[in-house]
């Protein structure tokens, strides 16, 4: 297994963070957060991957003695996706509401909370 996917995972996490730092729109910031989280998906799937192994579903085609990829990280990734869906939906709703109340989605122009 090459180290390449690990670099992709780290890069996604960093570029997502950078996206939030430089964001000019709250919707963009929330989506950048999802990009950062995509880094965790790549990392987890890369951890469990084995070359030539099958999907971890045992049945008539995959006998229990066959090599399969790690199902634990796949379960973790699925949980992670569920968490992400909830949080992203909630944050997008808040971003829309900020735009409605303050008249701008640009973090540079929000004035309500200072000091």
């Amino acid at each position: 297994m090459s180290v390449y996917p690990y670099f992709v995972a780290a890069w996604l996490m960093l570029v997502g963070g950078y996206g939030i730092v430089r964001s000019r729109n709250l919707v963009h910031a929330v989506v950048s957060l999802s990009v950062a989280q995509a880094g965790t998906y790549v990392l987890l799937l890369a951890v469990g991957y084995q070359r030539g192994a099958l999907a971890p579903v045992f049945g008539s085609t995959t006998k229990p003695n066959k090599h399969v990829v790690d199902p634990v990280v796949q379960a973790m990734t699925l949980t992670d996706i569920v968490v992400s869906a909830t949080v992203t939906a909630l944050l997008l709703a808040l971003a829309v509401q900020v735009n409605k109340r303050q008249g701008t989605p640009d973090p540079d122009e929000l004035q309500a909370l200072k000091g």
């Binding site: 730092v21 910031a29 950062a36 990280v73 968490v83 949080v87 944050l91």
Partner: protein
């Protein structure tokens, strides 16, 4: 039914009740929803109390679904209760019960959703506390996070509330994902997620770069929740805009749970590999910085909820220093400090809620002298404020004296000075606000901001959560009374100190935790419990901090009447204060940039000594 089976129920019952309330909320009369929600939280508190009593003898371990470990390896998920986290579970449920009781009359216009969210929040916190598995901790961390973001931004007509909720959500979720990244790295090396299994494997392992990076990433999420400088920015924004009963849970226990998570993960999983001295140094640095920044920012506030929020940041820094010395005394002191602080700080938030409800805003300057006739509220406020400054016999004072002593013994002789200064400045700021609001003391403060237009949150536009009640309802006063009594009990009950010492001893006994979780061995306490009790010196220092707090309060009130020469001597501090204010910009990008700076410095502090 065994005690072990209580633990999954403590998480499942609030979730089921939350769903029921959501589904049936619009058909049920409000009073039924109130009673159902509060009874659920109180029931969980009862279960936590039973768990606490049982765990005093021996740790309670449950493997979910019966997936027990075989030869030290397991794919199962353990829930482990020792006296410290069982006590924390009790604190969580107790605070949720009080907050819900207060909400009967306070959150007048809310529907079932508020109660459902509170119960989900409860479930998330209980799960995080009891879990013995790092991935599970992440999941519960996000569950309590999602409920907390929604509770913060609940007043969607309020422009500050939605902005505060959004900042809170983005910063905390990013922290959680960074934690998950660390969990993934750890799993790639060891193939385990349970804390006891990881601990058993890491004990035979050298601390190489991968282990250090995994540790830093995992605790980053928890330190974001614990509001360590420079991860702390979200806290003041979220506390300032959340409804008062929600602030109680944020300040009283959610922030401290972050600290608990970091301490638990270090003790059980990483304690055998990363040297104690390096972790102590790193955490003392972070804790002291947090305490100092929080205290200065606290004194500068006029928005009452923001003021209390910065005081929380400052105190969490002190708790961190207690845990950082990594011994029984420091842990016992910090745990006691957390419980004592939860009582008085929660009471202060609820009292601020009463002010908001009666007078329509939470701006110290606008409220000047407004609450003069309100004797009962004033008495409760000053009792809690003096308790925050460290007045014995509140549990906070005992926790403070034990912690400062433990940190000083560990070789940081300057620690008691910092502890007393922080207690005096934060307590003084709260007392100053009280003397202005309830006593009308000092010259009338200017209404317009002195920090320059738009550079300060004043709290003048905060919307009340109720339609102005004619008198303070008895349920609200009862909740405040219970909280203050709880804080007093932690300091006054004769065996309280000893119980905390025992809990700390069990918490720091990582080898016992691992062997008992993996093989169900009945672990005997290997060391005697440390002595935790009032000492003459400790009480003296507590009274000193209260006296200094009163001094700080009057200095804040009458600063303008000081001779000009004295006022000029404070001039060098002005640029520092201006920079501090500007750094707390309410800008989401700035906060995330600080977060990455924090990760870099934590890595440097932990990694460089090992090169």
């Amino acid at each position: 039914m065994t005690t072990g089976q209580l633990m999954p129920l403590m998480i499942a019952i609030p979730i089921v009740m939350a769903c029921l309330i959501l589904a049936a909320g619009s058909y049920l009369p409000r009073v039924v929803t109130d009673i159902l929600a509060t009874a659920t939280a109180a029931g969980v508190a009862g279960m936590a109390a039973a768990l606490l009593i049982h765990s005093g003898h021996s740790r309670v371990v449950t493997w979910l679904g019966g997936w027990r470990p075989a030869r030290g390896v397991s794919v199962g998920i353990p829930l482990v209760a020792d006296p410290l986290n069982a006590g924390l579970a009790l604190l969580v449920a107790g605070l949720v019960s009080c907050a819900l009781l207060y909400s009967w009359k306070y959150m007048e216009s809310v529907s079932g959703r508020f109660f459902a969210l509170m119960l989900l929040f409860l479930a998330g916190m209980e799960g995080f506390t009891l879990s013995g598995d790092v991935f599970d901790m992440f999941v519960f961390f996000e569950l309590m996070g999602a409920a907390a973001y929604a509770l913060t931004g609940m007043k969607i007509e309020d422009k500050t509330a939605v902005q505060g909720g959004l900042i809170f959500g983005v910063v905390n979720s990013l922290g959680a994902y960074i934690s998950l990244f660390g969990v993934g790295i750890l799993y790639s090396r060891f193939g385990q997620l349970g804390l006891p299994q990881l601990g058993a494997m890491l004990r035979q392992h050298r601390p190489d770069a991968l282990v250090i990076v995994a540790f830093v990433l995992i605790i980053t999420g928890f330190l974001v929740k614990a509001a360590m400088v420079p991860f702390h920015f979200w806290l003041a924004d979220a506390h300032a805009v959340a409804p008062a009963p929600v602030c109680v849970l944020f300040s009283g226990v959610m922030v401290e749970l972050g600290l608990y998570g970091a301490a638990r993960v270090y003790w059980v999983a990483f304690g055998g590999t990363i040297p104690h001295a390096d972790v102590t140094r790193a955490f003392i640095v972070f804790g002291a910085l947090t305490a100092a920044v929080g205290a200065v920012m606290c004194f500068l506030q006029r928005h009452l909820k923001r003021l209390l929020a910065y005081s929380t940041i400052s105190h969490v820094g002190l708790f961190m220093m207690g845990f950082a010395v990594l011994d029984d005394d420091g842990t016992a002191g910090a745990a006691l400090y957390v419980v004592g602080h939860a009582g008085v700080k929660s009471a202060l938030f609820l009292l601020t809620g009463i002010l908001l409800n009666r007078y329509g805003n939470v701006d110290e300057h606008r409220l000047y002298g407004r609450a003069r006739g309100d004797r009962l509220t004033a008495c409760l406020y000053f009792a809690a404020a003096l308790g925050l400054a460290g007045l014995p016999p509140f549990g906070l004072a005992l926790g403070k004296s034990v912690t400062e002593d433990a940190v000083a013994v560990a070789g940081y002789g300057w620690a008691p000075v910092l502890f007393i200064a922080v207690s005096a400045v934060t307590g003084g700021a709260v007392l100053r606000a009280g003397l202005r609001v309830f006593g009308g003391l000092g010259p009338r403060p200017a209404l317009e901001s002195t920090a320059g237009a738009g550079e300060e949150s004043t709290g003048g536009e905060e919307k009340p959560e109720t339609g102005g009640l004619p008198r303070t309802p008895v349920t609200m006063l009862l909740a405040i009374g219970i909280l203050l009594a709880g804080s007093l009990a932690a300091g006054l009950l004769p065996d309280a100190g000893q119980a905390f010492a025992h809990a700390a001893q069990r918490f720091t006994d990582a080898a016992g935790y691992i062997s008992q979780a993996l093989s169900h061995a009945g672990a005997a306490p290997p060391r005697p419990d440390p002595a935790v009790a009032w000492t003459g010196e400790g009480i003296g220092l507590d009274f000193l901090s209260v006296a200094l707090a009163l001094g700080v309060a009057f200095l804040g009130l009458y600063a303008r009447r000081l001779p000009a020469a004295l006022r000029r001597s404070a001039a060098p501090a002005r640029p520092v204060i201006a920079v501090l204010r500007q750094v707390h910009s309410g800008h989401i990008g700035d906060y995330v940039a600080w977060l990455f700076t924090g990760i870099a410095s934590l890595t440097a502090l932990l990694g460089l000594p090992l090169l």
